[in-house]
Symmetry: C2
């Protein structure tokens, strides 16, 4: 029954890993520059690695604890699939590995980028971008590898036979648990890294920029090294784990939906529906590599031209994926291949619209950010108020894009049966999943442009600390600014796919509930008596009916309320963590300025290590509670409010979390750029009162855009994953 | 069929209005004090009245436009009840009247309070509190009057006959439309008043306190009069209309639920269920009057003793309502009277828990606010970050209280049938409604303690501007501080009841959908063929099933997402409005300080009128869009996504709006009190850098706690009301 097109998946994986190896080797051949440059890079690298080691140590304990619980559930309580503990571990391991490789590359690349920028802009761009591509390709390569291996193993142990459509449902939902491993790792990485980087950044800015009036990355600032380390652990390792999770999540959720949607047809078709998202992702990976080779620029290129050169790579890959995915779908000969392909295109368009909207609300080329900058004239309070206002308003377009995109993707996958949307919900949801896969299919290159940002940022830091000439700094600044803009599109895809994937995971949850009921004969009998249909044949709607998952059920309504609250609680915990750690950092920097004589005249070296230690401690201590929230909440809600309460929780968390994430990310981005706009000489320019007010806005925005905001996307999905994996437990033991 | 216990309702109304008249007359007999005091009070009064006139003028146009639309729907399209246009108008009119009387009283009372405070603390308290009571009693008196009159009229035109249980459903859902009138008026009042007051407040603080370093309410500050006018139009008139709306909304929604829940029993019982919430509210009003007479204090009373004296009045009323409502329910002899009474008690407890949590997170006697104050040492950015963090975390207890309270109220009204919560959903929802009515039943006195706050605040302003001695200022400050604390409990009840009422309104929406379907025979036939039950006998669950209002329907999910976004969009619009108007105010005050010579030495008078004009213009221009959002969104969503989409919108708006409202209100309150904590001498005290940072936090918090936050509660309910009133239109014309 096996479909040979599947072999594209491991092949693409190996190709991606090979190219990332080549890019890494080529980058390592370059020189790190002067002795000072090498030594600073070594400092940052060792700080980052030390942090990551510490982080992984703690996360390992968490993983072991969860694995023990899973094993107990699987082998003692028998409410869990026996593969779950292993799948969970590999997901976490590969995700951590992706972050590790990405960060290793980034920390080796920054000095080399700075050194190359001494020669020319193009050399700088090439090193930074190719190093970002290492991360992009490692993430997709490892993800496809993990997916391919598990699919092959499970196919071996549960051979899919003609007429047995249930096996593929088991295989795909089992694979989802390795998604849970990836999500858990990602949440810890994002939260821990986010707290680390922003504590350092906020601390460095508050005393350095505002009080002492020294520039960014100045070596006299004791928090500078911690700040640069932070860029690596938060923006590189955190983002790597994050997108590994998104990528796996969307592919696995769609595969599971494919198994469910085509359960009532022949098994050959079902297999095609399952592997379709994997193959599209594999093809997208190959196209990403082609796109990466198309990024280059010439010396003296303007911001516009730099942007174009990156854009050319991304656009090329996106355009090609539209064409090639059509080919894949027709080759697979899926029913309604045209409709499913349209879902994919709709997904891509939705991602682009969200990206454009992000740009519109956060780039200072447009009115909203300019207004925030203008409000700096009347002080920090008005900067904050208008930044919050702009961020809140910026949620409108992305939400509408997702709403329209989801409905259209749903409808095109179901042949536009507008008046009977409950007719084939599984197929419609499959369309939504494919839309998410479409958005992330070219992750190889979009992540490269994302990961390239912090490398360029660190290169700038290295240049400043190594006291390289102003022309080098100008080049690294240009590269850095570019990174901020291209990141918008990547973020659009990441946010959009998170929402769509979370929607798709709702259906997977119901499938797991089915499997859970099957394990308990008396409960299965109750279900069959009530719904008058065999459990294995029951549709999603039968489950909605049996568990009364309607908006008049108080358990559903209360679940939604709890989900909504969970999103805010999570942000509150992470914001407070950053606030606390940053305040400690400020105290420490102030102390060093006061106690270490000659530090501000550059005559004495600051104690960088203590600042690194403060960030590390703050991050490690404060990342546990928010991260565990995603694991504990769905279990508790499920045990008390049952299946309908859990579905409420997931939907409430998704709706509020999605909007809150956009609000926070965009407010943060807009404050950052409003500050940059003023630094370009508007409203008094650098050093003016307006600038000081804008720096305060930017500082408030730091945890918004780099800690709480991006972590929310993972929170939403991890909550779904936990619910899915724990469904058997909930079905067996819930009290209501 | 009429139940004579109903006559308690109009009687209580007349009693309340009579006492408010007596309190008003007694207050007017007091002296306004010195000539300067009288003149300042006159300035504030005329400014406030001028604003209110302008506000009502605009709102009148909106009301006329909506009435014309309703008339068209009722008399031309026949998708609307013919009484709706009239009911809508009276709701709006009475709500406006309540705001007008409250504000009139407040503006007459402030100078008199200041003058009485020259004599003793007790005299000051008595005048301020009795004047607040005028507002409290006017609101409940007018509300009960409106309810009684409409109930009598509709009973006259649609006499309820034995065996005809449908008539009461029509009567009660028709009465809900006057709730929509009240909500519309309230939203405009809150948004307009909120923008006005915070533009003035923020503007006055930013330049006066931070830049010029002059104290609050200093007559040299050109924005002082506008600030004091703002307290009246925002905190008095806005709050009056707001709570009028909450009060009517909870009573009317519960009455409608009573009609629906007892539809299948005899009509006499149904009538009892309908009038029960009205009678409980009427009894609560009488008890409030008793409570009001119990508020007094002695000279030199400490903050603790002042608090106790207010608390005594509120606690007495709450305790008595627990006892008397039991009497009412047993006298009515409702089925499961004990269970319903328990729902009421649960409602009261939930309100108290929310109030306590508010105090815990916003009073500086507790850790969270102290931490915010401590963060002021490291500057405004950390104040803002930790204030946001604390506010987000403060949502946890209120949400859990509502979750537990709702489930318990539901269960006790349905005899704790834990495993069959869909058994009698209407009855359970009736319990939830009764819980909300319980919270608001003693509104007469809780609103008195709320409205008393701004009166004391204005008295302080008058004392400062009239240069009265420091002992007078100390007394008014004590009264003012007290107002801030007691308001917490009132807010707990207001927030809690809003959530419960909104839940109850969901069921009313479904009832209106039923009525809408009945008007269109072919749609009714489709329903009956699909659900195999007569439309008039169909249960809420049959409607959930027919419209597929489950969490797997993309229309429901997208509705929830839109509702979530709507809450953020609304806050974004109102925040930006305040930011914009405040920035204009800052520019104007700076201009006056520069251009009018001798202003800071007290030798020249500032141009107060221009500042008043800026606030007025800002409020009037910017209140339209956010207010209309609540009206347009449910209609558009309904026309495109149909009934299931609207229910999603309502639930999404409720879940996100509720949590967002608590977050914003508490962050704002905590910043305010963190500043006060520093002003009491901690972390450097007044004038220190920490104080300046805290003032910035307080300023950001102003629109949080007085504009966006409280308006959200009305937004949620108005959206529900609009959906209910427009249900007929949606049923007839929706495209999906």
């Amino acid at each position: 029954m096996f479909n040979h097109l599947f072999w594209i998946v491991p092949s693409a994986s190996i190709l991606a890993l090979t190219f990332s190896w080549i890019f890494f080797k080529n980058m390592m051949k370059e020189s790190e520059g002067t002795e000072r440059m090498t030594s600073i890079a070594a400092h940052v690298r060792s700080g980052a690695m030390a942090y990551l080691k510490q982080q992984y140590k703690i996360v390992t304990f968490v993983f072991l604890a969860i694995t023990i619980i899973f094993s107990f559930m699987a082998y003692v309580l028998h409410v869990q699939n026996p593969w779950v503990p292993f799948a969970f571990l590999t997901g976490g391991f590969f995700s951590g590995l992706a972050g590790f490789f990405g960060m290793k590359t980034a920390t080796y690349a920054s000095a080399r980028t700075a050194n190359a920028a001494r020669k020319s802009l193009d050399s700088g761009l090439k090193i930074a971008f190719r190093s970002g591509a290492v991360m992009g390709l490692v993430v997709v390569g490892l993800a496809l590898l993990d997916i391919a291996i598990w699919f092959l193993i499970l196919n071996k142990f549960y051979p899919v036979k003609p007429g047995d459509s249930h096996t593929l449902v088991i295989i795909t939902t089992t694979m989802l648990t390795f998604g849970m491993g990836a999500s858990t790792q990602a949440l810890f990485a994002r939260v821990g890294g986010g707290i680390y980087t922003k504590a350092a950044d906020v601390g460095a800015d508050l005393v350095g920029k505002i009080e002492a009036g020294i520039p960014e990355d100045d070596p006299r600032n004791p928090a500078t090294i911690a700040d640069n380390v932070g860029d690596n652990v938060g923006d590189v390792a955190g983002m790597g784990a994050d997108l590994y999770e998104s990528y796996c999540g969307s592919i696995l959720a769609t595969a599971a939906l494919g198994a469910a949607a085509f359960m009532h047809g022949d098994v050959a078709t079902q297999i095609k529906a399952v592997i379709a998202p994997m193959i599209i992702a594999a093809v997208g990976t190959i196209l990403s590599i082609i796109g990466i080779f198309n990024v280059k620029t010439k010396e003296g290129a303007s911001q516009r031209e730099l942007l174009d050169s990156l854009g050319r790579g991304i656009n090329l890959s996106s355009l090609l994926i539209i064409i090639f995915s059509a080919g894949v779908l027709f080759l697979l000969n899926l029913p309604n291949a045209l409709g499913i392909w349209m879902s994919l295109v709709i997904g891509l368009l939705t991602g682009i619209i969200i990206g454009k909207s992000t740009e519109r609300f956060t780039s200072y080329s447009f009115t909203p950010t300019k207004i925030i900058a203008e409000n700096a004239k009347t002080g920090p309070a008005t900067v904050i108020i208008s930044g919050l206002g702009v961020g809140m308003l910026s949620t409108v377009i992305p939400v509408l894009a997702i709403v329209v995109g989801t409905i259209l993707a749903f409808l095109s996958a179901t042949n536009f049966e507008i008046h009977n949307m409950s007719g084939n919900i599984s197929l419609g949801l499959y369309g939504i999943g494919i839309a998410a896969v479409g958005m992330l299919s070219t992750l190889g290159i979009t992540l490269a442009t994302d990961a390239y940002g912090p490398i360029a940022d660190n290169a700038g830091g290295n240049a400043e600390m190594s006291k390289l000439g102003p022309d080098v700094r100008r080049r690294t600044d240009a590269l850095d600014a570019l990174g901020n803009t291209t990141a918008a599109t990547g973020k659009g895809f990441a946010i959009g796919s998170a929402a769509l994937t979370a929607l798709a995971l709702l259906a997977s949850y119901v499938e797991e509930v089915r499997i859970g009921l099957m394990r308990i004969p008396e409960k299965a009998a109750l279900f069959e008596a009530s719904e008058k249909i065999k459990l294995s044949k029951a549709s999603l709607m039968d489950f909605m009916n049996y568990f009364n998952v309607t908006l008049m059920n108080p358990k559903v309504l209360m679940g939604i309320l709890i989900g909504s609250m969970m999103a805010f609680m999570f942000c509150g915990l992470t914001m407070n963590a950053v606030g606390r750690a940053a305040a400690n950092m400020v105290d420490e920097v102030r102390r060093q300025f006061k106690e270490i004589k000659g530090i501000l005249e550059g005559k004495a070296d600051p104690d960088y290590a203590r600042c690194v230690a403060i960030s590390t401690k703050g991050a490690q201590k404060k990342m546990m509670l928010p991260s565990l929230l995603a694991i504990i909440m769905p279990i508790l809600t499920g045990l008390i409010l049952g299946v309908s309460g859990v579905m409420g929780l997931l939907v409430g968390g998704l709706a509020t979390g999605f909007v809150l994430a956009i609000f926070m990310a965009n407010s943060g981005g807009a404050w950052d750029n409003a500050k940059k706009y003023i630094e370009e000489g508007h409203f008094g320019g650098k050093g003016s009162d307006a600038h000081k007010a804008a720096v305060i806005g930017d500082t408030v925005g730091d945890p918004f855009k780099d800690t709480s905001g991006p972590s929310l996307n993972i929170l939403i999905k991890l909550t779904s994953m936990v619910s899915i994996v724990m469904a058997g437990l909930i079905v067996a033991f819930s009290i209501m």
